[in-house]
Structures are given as structure tokens and as C-alpha cells.
């Protein structure tokens, strides 16, 4: 899956606030479609944010997270111009990643 991540990171004093919106169906595996068949589980398992190569957040997600998840967090450090990279992998082995500059 490509181009599923929208991200914005703002450096504020000594810390950086990161917001990201990820397009993913996050199917739990419990929902049935119109014909009555179960929609197979398809959800992000691991999400990682790294700042200048150092991992700042690892999220272990699962079927409880809803479709098109939004995440917002802050970490100590980071200044304008630094690189923030985001990557995720789901239970089907699909992945996507993206880098963005901190503003």
C-alpha cells in the first residue's frame, strides 16, 4: 500500500509534537459483509516513528484500533529541519513508510 500516511511534526521548545493520519481499513475480522461472509482481519500490527534514525515511538496495534487511525504524540528533542520517518506493517505483511521534515 502506498501513500497512506499523512504526517505533520512541529518542534516546540525542547520537544516535538507529531500528528499522523494513516489510511488503512483496520478490519477486525469480526465484521460481516453484505452477503454474510466475514471480512478477514486486516490491521496494522506495528507502527514506528524514528527521529534522525532513533526510534521515538513504537505502537503495537491490533483489531481494536479503528479505520484510518489518527495518532498524536510528542517526544523530547527534535528541531526544525530534522528528519522524522514513519513506517508500519500489517498482519498481511503489507507495509508503507514515509519521511517528513520537522517544522
Amino acid at each position: 500500500m502506498a501513500n497512506t500516511i499523512l504526517v505533520r511534526a512541529n518542534a516546540d521548545g525542547g520537544s516535538t509534537v507529531v500528528q499522523a493520519l494513516i489510511r488503512h481499513p483496520m478490519d477486525s475480522g469480526f465484521v460481516k459483509d453484505k452477503s454474510g461472509k466475514l471480512i478477514p482481519p486486516h490491521y496494522i500490527e506495528v507502527l514506528e516513528f524514528a527521529h534522525n534514525g532513533t526510534v521515538v515511538l513504537t505502537a503495537l496495534w491490533g483489531p481494536a484500533v479503528s479505520k484510518d487511525p489518527f495518532i498524536k504524540f510528542s517526544f523530547k528533542g527534535g528541531k526544525k529541519g530534522d528528519t522524522l520517518s514513519i513506517s508500519w506493517i500489517d498482519n498481511k505483511g503489507l507495509k508503507d513508510s514515509r519521511t517528513a521534515a520537522i517544522m
Binding site: 499523512l6 505533520r8 493520519l21 484510518d68
Partner: protein
């Protein structure tokens, strides 16, 4: 008995004439907007398009947080692609619409004198598809709302400019829409006005009810309750179900006329689509 029958007949014959004199959309518009301005004097006129966020400060704060990452962003991007893509026969949506479809959303719904019916922008897009050999899109959600997200975004900020021309069929459609809005329906016996006029600004369980003024100016919307995007018609169907009335077909005349009435009542307010709602 005979006198009674004659009186009844006379009353029936006189009714259509009286009804035609009573249809005055411009007067209705003035009264409608004046009502809401008087009821909510601290809400700037253009802010009515923000519905519940104009009514409640707490909701507005949450909305502003959400809007840092508009939940309709994916739909908007996809809609842009869909609109630009060519049909198998080489034509485009732009070929069917005035100004290539850009900056026209504020003029819809419009009355089509050829068919004598109200045409919403969604229906115009479907007509374009059919003329070019494609199947119609679902009117409620999916590619249609993505297209609408893009087209309303291209009209963002433009004042709603829906017109009820001096054509008896147009005035009749407007009047039907108005009657639909004020008529009670469903097991719960509510009209649209029950919630969006009487209940405007009040709580309905966890929601704050939006005023009818500007109500559809922010459509299509990403509705958190749906977890997806939807058009005005999707909401009409939902509202019908919520008062336990049987919903109609998405392309029904009732829904077209209702959208016509609601959009006309918001004339002058800025198009605020696509929107985000709880």
C-alpha cells in the same frame, strides 16, 4: 347535504389558486434566515454553516483539533483523481458540466426545465456517466462522495446561489421540499424542523443539533459516527431511520426537493464542504 357538497366542491376548486399565490420562496428565505439570526444573535451569519460547532464552544474546540488533520483528506485527494480521470470513451466529467465542473457546486441543486425536475450535483454527475456509457454511482457513499468532496472544495467559500426560477414546476418542487421539511413522519413523529429548528443548539443525547440554516452547506461530510464520508442523501436516509420512518430511494423526488429547499434557504452562506461532523 347538497349545500355542503357544493361548499366542499367550491373549497376544493379554490385551493390550487390560493396555493399558487402562497408560494413565495424569497419571502420564505427572508423569514427563515431572520428567525435563526434572531434566535442566535451571537452567531456570525456565515458561521451557521458550521452547524453544531456554531452552537457549542466545547464541540468547536474538538473540531478545531480534528481539523488539524481533516478526516476527509483521503476522500478529497481521491475525488480529485476521479474527476480528472477519463472515461473509457475518452470524455471527462468536465465535458458535461458548466465551467468544466470547477467552482459550480454553489449553484446546485438546480431546476432543470427540460425534465421539469430538480437536479443535484450528484445526479448531474451520474447523468454524465450514463451519457458516456457508464453505470451510475451509488448516491450515498463511495466514489460519489469523493467526487463531491473535490467539487465542493473547489467552491469553498463561494456563497450558495441556488435559484428557484419563475417556473410553476420549480416553485412546486420548492414547495414540496418545504412541506417535507415541516411535515412530521415516522414512529417518533418528528419533522426535520422538530430537531433542526425547535431543537437547534440543544442536545440530543450526546450530539448538539445543528440549525437548519446552513445545514447542508458543509456536505459531503466525514461523519465520525459513520467512520466514512457521506452525501446529503446518506444523511436524509439516516435521519428518516432515526425517526423510524421508512427511508426512500436515494434518487427519490422527495430527497431532491428537500435538498432544493434546504440549499435555497442557505442562499448567501459560504459553501463549506467537505465537512467533518461528530
Amino acid at each position: 347535504m347538497k349545500r355542503l357538497l357544493i361548499l366542499l366542491l367550491a373549497a376544493l376548486l379554490l385551493r390550487p389558486a390560493l396555493a399558487a399565490e402562497r408560494v413565495d420562496p424569497a419571502a420564505d428565505l427572508k423569514a427563515f434566515q431572520t428567525y435563526f439570526h434572531a434566535r442566535f444573535p451571537h452567531v456570525p451569519p456565515a458561521d451557521f454553516v458550521n452547524g453544531p460547532y456554531a452552537m457549542d464552544a466545547g464541540m468547536r474546540a474538538q473540531w478545531q483539533q480534528i481539523m488539524q488533520f481533516p478526516p476527509y483528506q483521503f476522500a478529497l485527494d481521491h475525488g480529485k483523481e476521479l474527476f480528472a480521470a477519463a472515461f473509457p470513451n475518452g470524455h471527462h466529467y468536465a465535458d458535461c458540466l458548466p465551467h468544466g465542473g470547477i467552482g459550480i457546486a454553489q449553484n446546485y441543486p438546480r431546476f432543470d426545465p427540460k425534465t421539469g425536475r430538480v437536479v443535484t450535483l450528484e445526479i448531474a454527475l451520474n447523468r454524465c456517466r450514463v451519457v458516456n456509457g457508464l453505470k451510475k454511482l451509488k448516491l450515498t457513499t463511495g466514489d460519489m462522495d469523493d467526487l463531491m468532496a473535490y467539487l465542493t472544495d473547489r467552491s469553498h467559500g463561494r456563497p450558495v446561489a441556488v435559484v428557484v426560477p419563475d417556473d410553476p414546476r420549480a416553485r412546486a418542487a420548492y414547495e414540496r421540499g418545504k412541506e417535507y421539511f415541516y411535515a412530521r413522519r415516522g414512529q417518533l413523529n418528528f419533522s426535520c424542523a422538530s430537531c433542526h429548528m425547535q431543537g437547534a443548539g440543544r442536545h440530543l443525547r450526546g450530539d448538539v443539533l445543528a440549525p437548519a440554516l446552513g445545514l447542508i452547506a458543509s456536505f459531503p461530510i466525514y461523519r465520525s459516527a459513520w467512520g466514512s464520508m457521506g452525501t446529503v442523501v446518506r444523511r436524509f436516509i439516516g435521519c428518516n431511520k432515526q425517526v423510524r420512518a421508512v427511508p426512500q430511494r436515494a434518487d427519490s423526488e422527495d430527497y431532491r426537493d428537500l435538498e432544493y429547499f434546504l440549499a435555497y434557504m442557505s442562499d448567501g452562506l459560504p459553501v463549506a464542504g467537505p465537512g467533518a461532523r461528530p
